[in-house]
Structure formats: structure tokens, C-alpha cells
């Protein structure tokens, strides 16, 4: 085979992408190795994150030097991440399904591009700008109206009690901002799928005497259900890794499990940003290594979710091709 220098050089450039990904995983793994052996399984089941006495003489525990009293447990942040993303999905799915249906079927074709562009633009607004809007608009709204209102209606359930705790910052604010950021992902995925439903299916439903809304909800939605699930999982992947907006509105809890929807929370991503400053003070470096372990955990969670989304969406393609 003849050697082709040009092809080899562009291949080399493109291999830099997997190389960067490999380097990220490798360096995080190597750097956190000591923390992994020190923390063991308590890392993901413990709820106490304590840097220990940073000014005391380091003690040797399980073969590594750590500040006295140091204990690294991240269950609180895992729960905060999963819970806030889950509630965000609960809010975002009905909104984006409704929006996508309205865009696909009720909006005149002439203004559909404009409106769908607006929906797409929600996705490109930087996270930190959403955080700023959250602080300036959403937090006061939650503290004054949404929080007390929710408590008044659902306060008999302990999870919704105490509507003005935390002055608006907390799980609800986090979930609402996250929901806002992920709706365009679900909505545009669903919109594309709805626009691709074959004309024959719509027309046969109409011919059976279904109202327009019944055509959409009973004939078209079942066809795009798996695409919808793929879009939701993709949105979940985005919500899990979201950092700045969460950091700005979550209230930042440490060592305490969220008790109600108004409790302050921390997600894995926001915790990394908020803690690195203090972790740097640790002379044994174990805190920084433990943060690397957290980053690794976050990477693994999002990788699993994104791989799930990919599998789901590739499965969808097969089904659609088979049907044709």
C-alpha cells in the first residue's frame, strides 16, 4: 500500500480528539488513585465532607497522609445532582412536549421557523446568564409567590412544606433553571420527529374522524415515543453536568441531605467549583485528589446517560427504517 502523507496527517489531527478524551480520563484516574484507595466505598455512601484540620500535622490513615479528621463523602452531592435533574425533567417534559406539538401542528408554517429558532436560542444562552437571571428574577419570584403558593397547596406533604425557607435559593430554583435550559433539547428533538411522521399516518387518522388534537395525541405521539425518550435522556445528561447556573441559585448545601423542595442543595459540578479554593489549602493534597475523584464520578454518570441516549436514538432509527 502506498503511503499517503496527507491522509495520515489529517488522521493524526483527528486522533487528537480521542487522545484528549483519553488524557482527561487517564489524568483524573491517576490523580485520584490515592483518594480512591483512601476513601473506599464510603466515598459514595458517606454524607460528611470534612477537609479535616488543615493546620494540624497530617496523620497517616490507610497508608496515605491526610489532615486529621479528614473525611470525604459525596452522597449529598450525588443526591442533589440526581434529585435536581429529575425534578427538572419532570418540569421540562410536559412543557417541551406541549411546545413541540404546538409548533409542529398548530403554528402556521410561515412563522414556525421563527418560533422554533426562538426555542433553539434558549439552548445557546450561556449558563451563567441563566444564573444571573435566576438570581435577579426567579429567586425573588420563588421566595414571594411560588414557594408559599406551593406550600399552601401541597404543604400537607412534608416535601413541599416550609415555602419560604432559604429565601428562594435551593432545590426548586435549581430544578426550574435546569428545566428551562433543557426544554429546547427535548422540544427540538421531538419537533423534528413530529415533522417526519409520514403523511399517510396523519391522514388515515383524520379519515377515521379523529379531531386534530386526537390525531396528534393518539396517532402521531405513539410513533415518536422512543425519539422522545432519547431526547429526554440526552437532556438529562446535560442537566447532570450543568455547573454555573446551578452554583448561582442552589444555595450550596454541605453535609445535609435536602429535606424539602426548598432546601439548599449542591450538585457534583457546582460543588467542585465552590470547593476548590478551600481544597487548595490542604497541605497533603488529599482534598484536591478527592475532588478529582468526584469529577471522575460525574464523568462516569454523564457517560452512562449519554451512551444510553445514543443507544435509544440508534434503536429508533432501526425501527423507523424497518417500518418503511
Amino acid at each position: 500500500m502506498k503511503l499517503k502523507p496527507f491522509r495520515l496527517s489529517v488522521l493524526g489531527l483527528s486522533l487528537l480528539i480521542p487522545a484528549a478524551l483519553g488524557a482527561v480520563v487517564l489524568f483524573l484516574a491517576v490523580y485520584s488513585a490515592q483518594a480512591v484507595s483512601f476513601n473506599g466505598l464510603d466515598f459514595i455512601s458517606g454524607i460528611t465532607w470534612d477537609l479535616g484540620n488543615l493546620y494540624g500535622d497530617p496523620v497517616t490513615v490507610r497508608g496515605v497522609q491526610v489532615p486529621p479528621g479528614a473525611n470525604y463523602g459525596i452522597l449529598v452531592f450525588i443526591v442533589g445532582t440526581l434529585l435536581s435533574s429529575f425534578i427538572a425533567i419532570l418540569i421540562a417534559v410536559p412543557l417541551s412536549v406541549g411546545a413541540a406539538i404546538f409548533l409542529a401542528e398548530a403554528v402556521p408554517a410561515k412563522i414556525r421557523p421563527l418560533l422554533s429558532m426562538l426555542v433553539e436560542l434558549v439552548a445557546v444562552v450561556p449558563s451563567v446568564v441563566f444564573g444571573l437571571w435566576g438570581i435577579a428574577v426567579l429567586i425573588p419570584l420563588i421566595a414571594k409567590y411560588i414557594g408559599p403558593g406551593l406550600s399552601a397547596m401541597l404543604g400537607f406533604i412534608p416535601f413541599f412544606a416550609g415555602g419560604n425557607a432559604g429565601g428562594g435559593y435551593g432545590l426548586l430554583a435549581t430544578s426550574m433553571v435546569l428545566a428551562l435550559m433543557i426544554t429546547p433539547i427535548i422540544a427540538t428533538t421531538l419537533l423534528d420527529a413530529l415533522l417526519q411522521v409520514p403523511k399517510e399516518n396523519r391522514e388515515s387518522a383524520f379519515a377515521l374522524g379523529a379531531t386534530h388534537f386526537e390525531v396528534v395525541s393518539k396517532a402521531m405521539m405513539p410513533m415518536v415515543r422512543s425519539t422522545l425518550v432519547g431526547g429526554i435522556v440526552l437532556a438529562l445528561g446535560r442537566a447532570l453536568g450543568e455547573t454555573m447556573a446551578v452554583l448561582m441559585v442552589s444555595g450550596g448545601a454541605i453535609n445535609i441531605m435536602p429535606a424539602t423542595i426548598f432546601s439548599p442543595v449542591s450538585t457534583i459540578a457546582s460543588f467542585i467549583v465552590s470547593q476548590l479554593d478551600s481544597a487548595e489549602q490542604d497541605p497533603t493534597n488529599m482534598a484536591v485528589r478527592s475532588l478529582a475523584e468526584i469529577a471522575l464520578v460525574l464523568f462516569i454518570i454523564t457517560l452512562a446517560v449519554n451512551a444510553g441516549a445514543k443507544l435509544l436514538s440508534s434503536g429508533v432509527l432501526n425501527v423507523r427504517n424497518n417500518k418503511r
Binding site: 482527561v24 417541551s96 406541549g98 451563567v128 388534537f213
Partner: protein, 293 residues
Amino acid sequence: MSATTSAKSSSPKRSQQELRRVAVSMAGWTVCGLALFMVIGPLLDVVWVVASRGISVFSIGLFTTVTNGTGGGLANAIEGTLVLSGGALLIAVPIGVGAGIYLSEYGSNKIGSLIRFLSDVLTGTPSIVLGYFSYIVFVTTLGWQFSTLAGSITLAILIVPYLARISELALRQVPVSMREAAYALGANDPVVVFKVVLPGALSGVITGVLLALAISVGETAPLIYTAGWSNYMWNGQLTHSPIGYLTYVIWSFINQPSDESHALAFAAAFIVMLVVLCINIGVRLVVKRTKFI
């Protein structure tokens, strides 16, 4: 469509069940319309709030003076954002476009699909994970400290997969017959790519570069622990010296007590949002006109 209209006009007497179905449909459309409003409404409110509060503090001084602890101008942050994003593009564009060339021209094989898959994985990796990676590698292990280069490399890692994917899509739009014609005239690989395919797909590649620029201008999390923050103009050093950027102002100044700090945060947010939205709207308008992608 005709089915519904005939059902509506056929008989004035409707059965109980039919009335209920029509009512449910009406309610369904109302709920869907409200949902659309609740998706777009917050976006318009974000733009309105940030624009109105941001513009009100615009002055010449905002662009000529540097930040101090609580207020001042944004000159250092604007310059820093330009330097960091420019640096990221300098690193990422050759790699991303090169990867796009490989994937579109020679990548219809196992290696190509593996690179595509891993590139998607990198796209899905949370930006804070990339930031933390850069922190432990460039900032501490290599000892660059908070620096321009560490920030730019982090942003470059973040945007390379987008560039590769969009470049690949753009290059694939160029008809195969043009490549065949060039090869038939005796052109070799680089000539075909650089004289025929790349010029044909230039608008698409530029689209990708602009979108990557928008992403890098709006990023915060991966920069906090790689670029650091500085109240002064960039001193031209690539390592061992932190640099300011606009998104940091938004994040940190809104948490300070004074109104002056808040005003500065909104001004910074307005500039960032303006750049990001202009790029994205512009690209979408152009893309629609040329029917690209």
C-alpha cells in the same frame, strides 16, 4: 384536515361524546400553546432583563477602564475574553477542521466511526470535568499556575468536537462529482481538499468556527480554575499570570453587595449575550438561505 371541518359543520346536533372530544381537544391545544409560551417567555424575559439593566450602565468608561474590587469598567475582562477565545480558536480550528477533513473525506471506516463516537463522548463531558482536568495537569502539575494558555487549551478541548462535527457535515455537502473531476485532472489529495472541497464548503466551516466562538465566549466553569481572574489588562504572558474574562464578572460581581457591582455584572452579561445571540441568529439566517445542513 377536511375531516375536522366537515365534522364541525355537518350537524348542529352533536352527541355528548363528540362534544366531550371537541372540548378535550380545545383544552389540549390551549395547554400546548401555554407550554410553548412558557418555553419562549423566559427567554424573552432573560433578554429583556439583561438588556435593560445592562444598557443602562453603558458608557465609554465601561470599555476603557479596568475593574477594581467592586466596580470600575470592563476593559480587562473584554480583552481577556477576546484573548482566551482567540487562543482557543487558534488551537482548535486547525485540529477541528483537520479532523473534519479526515472524517468526511477518508473516514467512512471503523476508525472514522470510532473517532466520531469518542468525539460525541467528549461533547457530552461536563465542562467542569474538563476544567478540573486542566487544573490538575496544566495549573498544578506543569506549574503554569492560573494562566492564559491553560484557559485557552481548556476551551479548545471543549470546542474541538463541535468544530470537527460541523466541518465534516459542511464538507460532505460538496458533491462527489467535483472531487472526481479534480482527481481526473490529476490533482492529488491535498489539492483536492484545499482547492476544491474546502472552498466549496467554506461557508459551512466558517459557521462552525462562529458557533465555536459563541460557545467559548459564554463558558465560565472551565475557566475559573484555569484562567483565574485578574483586575488588570493582559500582560502578554501565556503562563504564570492570570487573566480576566467577562463571564467571571457575571458570576462573582452579582454576589457582591453593592449596586455598582450588580450593574457591572449585568453589563458583562449583556455583552456576552449579545455576542452569543448575534452569532447564533446570524448563522441560522444564513444557513436557511443557503440551505446548508
